[in-house]
Symmetry: C2
Subunit: 232 residues, 2 copies
DNA sequence: CGTTGAATTGAGACGAATCAACGGAGGTGG
DNA sequence: CCACCTCCGTTGATTCGTCTCAATTCAACG
């Protein structure tokens, strides 16, 4: 809720703002606000005016939208250093919701756009990130449209393991806590809760993973799991 | 295959190059090459080095990729004035193939990037277009993952009708020629040829459309068809 | 007139959704 | 401390939609 110094920011080296000039960074810093969001709270609602943008400092968020009959879809996840918001857009085409407790650094959109105007480096970095996001979205289209439930879930688990990195490793296994509920995984993969659950237990009985309880996950055989993920 | 004057270009007002300065436009014009591609020919292959980019002058192209087992997916279509290529990318993540005879204006990627460096306006326009493409890709994710075959096809037909605009209108009806085969429509919507065909005849027997033959399509009741497309 | 490729149509199989019941974890209040 | 509740996840039985396989029609063309 309060202004903070960029120099002490956890993501100053990797977030979009790393490309700002000293002067512009100072200017933005003056109007930036750090805000915290509780797990489950929504930062921006689909259809709202896109009035802020900024960077994720800590936590994980989801981008999602839903049809009027309740069918939901999660378009992707945001991790620390990722950019949030829709510059130059009228309204948000999706909602942004915190999956874990989150810490964001937000600017008024108009002010951010003003600074962008004079800062080619940032605009360039934003362009590259947007292009990367587009490639990712397209890759996901193939998975959603053509993948089986097994491929979808295997792909998701591999991604989560790669993201979590070496949270806790013992021998070949990797342990991590999934930031999504079964229902959210289903919304991300275009499946139902039941199918997600069934595939999980299927992987478990095949000895590929373990489910110690809660949202904990242990990947026992990454190679085979990866092989069951979608073939490129 | 030969250099051409921008001043006589059909899409000079709407393509990306419309944002270039006179000087840069002249510089690019000197290295630009107009190339024609026959219907069915591939402009860029997935996995190839991304060595050129440019603009669509005429015709329609598809962006597609496929898994090693043959499952295909079309990510989207390119129309005149759309940008083609992947600046700053190593290799193409998808193939670009002409659906109709096409006319493209291409530059070597490196030269294009050099000009981009000094031309904020173009970079800004490219950013906006990329963001728009991202929003479109995300909207399509919802359709692919959650839509029924009926919704998918209705949505596709509405889009095609809107694109074709007033090609030929008689009363309430709109007539157009689909630039895609049944198989390509299937690849775009994540369906099979048979399901596409069945839904087509279903719409036809409901009096919403007519199929005079070939790839011709007449939309008789746009309102009802739109209602059967995916709910926002 | 036969050939070729695309589109249509039909019959059956399969995968995921749906409907429904159950079990465990965490919280609340008596 | 225990009964109760709710939320979430698991599991089972069944249904439904789409894929698959197969045959037929149709249009274009030599």
């Amino acid at each position: 809720m309060s202004p903070v110094e960029c120099s002490t920011c956890d993501v100053q080296g990797t977030a979009l703002c790393s490309a700002f000039s000293e002067a512009d960074r100072a200017a933005l810093n003056a109007i930036s606000r750090h805000k915290t969001y509780e797990k489950g709270s929504t930062v921006m609602w689909a259809g709202d005016e896109a009035i802020v943008c900024g960077s994720v400092i800590s936590g994980i968020l989801k981008l999602s939208a839903s049809a009027s009959d309740g069918r939901k879809q999660i378009f992707g996840l945001l991790y620390p250093a990722d950019f949030v918001g829709q510059p130059h857009a009228g309204q948000m085409p999706f909602s942004v919701t915190a999956l874990t407790d989150c810490h964001l650094c937000l600017y008024p959109r108009a002010a951010f756009e003003d600074v962008l105007e004079n800062n080619i480096a940032v605009e360039r970095l934003l362009l590259r990130r947007t292009m990367a996001a587009l490639d990712e979205a397209r890759a996901r289209m193939l998975l959603l449209a053509r993948g089986t439930s097994e491929e979808k879930l295997a792909c998701f688990l591999i991604e989560m393991a790669d993201r979590a990195g070496g949270t806790t490793t013992t021998g070949q296994s990797v342990m991590l806590e999934l930031p999504l509920s079964r229902g959210q995984i289903a919304d991300l993969l275009g499946l139902t809760i039941e199918t997600v659950s069934r595939q999980m237990t299927h992987f478990k009985s095949d000895g590929l993973i373990d489910l110690p309880g809660g949202r904990m996950l242990i990947i026992r055989n990454r190679a085979v799991l990866k092989a069951r993920a979608m073939l490129d």
